[in-house]
Symmetry: C2
Subunit: 154 residues, 2 copies
Amino acid sequence: MAQPTIRPTGDGAQGIVSPATARALLAAKGIRPTRPRVQIGQLLFQEGGRHFTAEQIYEEAAIFRPRPVLATIYNTLREFAQNGLLREVAVYGNRIWFDTTVGPHFHYFMDGSDELFDIPDNLVPQLQIQPPPGMRVVGVDVVVRLEPLPVDQG
Amino acid sequence: MAQPTIRPTGDGAQGIVSPATARALLAAKGIRPTRPRVQIGQLLFQEGGRHFTAEQIYEEAAIFRPRPVLATIYNTLREFAQNGLLREVAVYGNRIWFDTTVGPHFHYFMDGSDELFDIPDNLVPQLQIQPPPGMRVVGVDVVVRLEPLPVDQG
DNA sequence: CTGTGTGCAAACTCTTTGCATAAGT
DNA sequence: ACTTATGCAAAGAGTTTGCACACAG
């Protein structure tokens, strides 16, 4: 009995988006469609959204002939985030996670296996948190840290 | 007109707790009260709770005669967290933040100035998020990222 | 005494940066 | 052409680890 709604986002590079699609997204933000940016965009902007680190994208970028260097992946992801194409997610540990879904939603984080995925919207309430005076809310991150239950012990 | 409830936790090393108090907390968790652990405990377990990184504690530990080394601070904080004396907080960037308040509560994080502080409980709803099947919830982190509002512009 | 923790230094991981070359408009 | 981005390599921040000595029980 598979659970249908546990992982609503398609994680992993199941399919690659066309260069044209990636270019269109960059154009919409006024970002120059250079080769590495288009390639990275092809990997990122898949149906349903993705969660990833720079290293993961670097691995996946191996499918491209001249493959972008890791430093370029970092720079590109940072730039995409600044332009609202990505969202940086606050997680534990010392790695930067990104998410192509920029709208408000929450995350599960699997402690041991380093996996990040969306919490289905119907499981979480609307959070409306007011900032202290003189401040504005840049973003809200909700991370639910998970651990597998022990399987034995009938 | 100062806002009374913005920063409910006392952050910063206003006062140091007695060695005896620190020892008692360690004893309650069955942790050997070695010199560095007691010293670090004296810095951490102040009234109202604290938020900090390893580096911050290292700086404050300069008040002790033989001051614990940074590596020991890291090891100790990690051990304290494993024993439930501290809680690790999920924030952006690549530093590990700790919090002496281990119960459920949420955080503001000031983007530019690297400050982490509690959101007053009355500002946030109770979050009751159910885990996917086969998983258990280890912890829930809510981080509201803040930015100062521009001050000019009458 | 015996085992565990600490100090020190080095290693490691992740991320950023500087600079010459290459590519985009 | 002119500007901006990329590749490469090196540096930088934060954290962890290995090992000999020191300390707690």
